[in-house]
């Protein structure tokens, strides 16, 4: 046999080239002409069947990567959702805004509360004004029953607190909008509502007229048990522009001061007993001096306790009557039905803001998932490529 020259080698190599069977090429040509229809009719008709066929074709190892990737993506999604949820509800201070519906129409209500462990219970009462009212009633049973006297400072007080009694201090700011020429009438109605609720007007300022900066402001003290009735009455006077409720649980300080007062009472009783048993003038003077000091302390503690009870039994209410949008003010129960271009722009802005917020949240959820999926997909491609090369040997 002669040595292979270049041309011979190439020619012989080409002669070794495998060629397909004519039957196969004919069949393939037909399929090419038909646009390569899928060979598994079930898979072509039904995506689920196609998926099942694909899963069947994959080995356990091949399925492991997508399965792990899917699991990680789901876990990441759950984590993000939980994180977002926790972020919204965490912290000792809780601020909540809600658009509520008052008797005179839409009213924005924002409520905030801060405190220790008792804050959670206090804030629960924010959710339902009725419950908050009851809390106020419990805080000042004397006022609601009409018994005007100082709180009783008995030793049972702490036990009562432990059973669920809460002392809650409440303050509210409500802003009403009306026409400039209706400020005086609205102010008169505010006075009447305060009177009806047995409240006190600490100070007030009313500027009425048809032109200029007219308006009114009131600083009120309303019995906690009647504050909701009073606020409802204020809401009927004019359109509620905004309302802010704040509560502060003062149960802890009240219990602490009550216990201090009980200790002081016991000290005074002990000193009085000691005074009856003194034998010398010096001892008597010493005990009397300690007794005076203890009584001064007792009075101070009692004053503190009274102040705390007053804070719980009376709610601070600030009422403002504004006329900045006087021309557009709709009296309660009436609807002018006007919808200006400004309103439309405002509504459009609100809608866009909400849409942007939703989009942002969606991105916050989807971005990490997409990143993980991309990473897993890339790693899987690398792995498959490596396995293919290994298959070639």
């Amino acid at each position: 046999m002669d040595r292979f020259d270049d041309d011979t080698l190439l020619a012989e190599l080409r002669e070794l080239r495998p060629t397909p069977r004519p039957e196969f090429t004919a069949e393939l040509d037909e399929r090419a002409a038909a646009g390569f229809p899928r060979r598994d009719p079930r898979a072509g008709a039904n995506p689920l069947a196609h998926l099942a066929a694909w899963i069947r074709a994959k080995s356990g190892g091949q399925m492991l990567v997508p399965a792990v990737g899917l699991a990680i993506a789901v876990l990441a999604a759950v984590g993000v959702v939980v994180a977002i949820g926790n972020h919204g509800g965490s912290g000792g201070e809780l601020t909540r805004s809600a658009v509520g519906s008052e008797s005179s129409g839409g009213a924005e209500m924002s409520e905030s509360g801060a405190g220790e462990s008792s804050a959670a219970e206090a804030t629960k009462s924010f959710a339902a004004p009725d419950r908050a009212t009851k809390s106020g009633e419990r805080a000042a049973p004397e006022e609601t029953e009409g018994t005007a006297h100082a709180p009783t400072f008995d030793a049972q007080a702490p036990a009562t607190k432990a059973r669920g009694h809460r002392d809650v201090e409440r303050s509210t700011t409500i802003v009403l909008g009306t026409k400039p020429d209706q400020v005086a009438g609205a102010a008169a109605k505010v006075y009447a509502a305060v009177h009806a609720a047995d409240g006190v007007v600490l100070n007030s300022s009313v500027e009425s007229g048809s032109t200029g900066s007219t308006g009114a402001s009131f600083s009120l003290l309303i019995p906690s048990g009647k504050v909701d009735d009073a606020l409802a009455a204020f809401s009927r006077i004019a359109e509620v522009r905004s309302r802010h409720d704040a509560t502060n649980d003062i149960t802890g300080p009240t219990v602490s001061v009550t216990e201090e007062l009980r200790d002081s009472n016991a000290s005074i009783e002990g000193l009085l007993k000691e005074l009856g048993n003194v034998e010398t003038e010096a001892e008597r003077e010493s005990v009397e001096a300690r007794l005076r000091e203890e009584r001064r302390r007792h009075a101070s503690i009692r004053a503190s306790l009274e102040h705390l009870h007053k804070r719980a039994s009376m709610s601070e209410v600030s009422v403002q009557i504004v006329t900045d949008h006087g021309a557009g003010v709709v009296p309660p129960g009436k609807d002018e039905g006007g919808w200006s271009v400004g309103d439309a722009l405002h509504d459009a802005g609100n809608i866009l803001t909400v849409a942007a917020g939703v989009l942002l949240i969606a991105l916050a959820v989807l971005a990490p998932i997409a990143l993980i999926v991309l990473l897993i997909w890339s790693l899987n491609r690398l792995r498959v490529r490596r396995l293919r090369e290994r298959a070639l040997g």
């Binding site: 046999m1 002669d2 040595r3 292979f4 011979t8 080698l9 190439l10 012989e12 190599l13 080409r14 002669e15 070794l16 080239r17 495998p18 060629t19 397909p20 069977r21 196969f24 090429t25 393939l28 040509d29 399929r31 090419a32 646009g35 390569f36 899928r38 060979r39 080995s59 396995l387 293919r388 090369e389 298959a391 070639l392 040997g393």
Partner: protein, 188 residues
Amino acid sequence: MNLGRRRSRGVSQTAVAEAREAPGEAEVAFDRLYRSSRDDVYAYVASLLHDGPAAEEVTATAFERAYRKRRRFDPKKGEPRAWLFGIARNAALDELRRRGRQAELAAEPEDVDATAVDASAEQSERRLALRAGLARLEPRERELIALKFFAGLGNAEIAAVLGISESNAGTRLHRAVTKLREALDGQI
């Protein structure tokens, strides 16, 4: 005028013909690619699998996959033949993986016997020597030989299929041919 409700008059018979959309640019290009590459793809795949029926199956699968992806092919990224052979290579290697078998170049292609009937004794001897020489090459070297001489790809296309540079493809191919020649010289 409502064209949708207009009907022809005096029509007693309706001829039903298979309605097909006019082939788009991608379809025409793919058809051209299919016709020019069908046998080459089969030759390359059969060289990798050394199994006729499996090679037919993988060749069909490769064209099927390529057809589904035809609109995603970007001519800026390379030659269509290189793209097609890349798909065929992946399909063949997947088949090898599935079977858990090492690739072997078809040292004895199925059509060799047919051509060998009329071949002279010396030709038969040469081909036997060539098959033996090919069997001594590494699988990757045999793949290079198959891509070059069975599929008829240029160095640039081979480089694109294997994911290496063109110069690297040329160097490797030269080494493979040299090694094959040495193996053949050793037999003579």
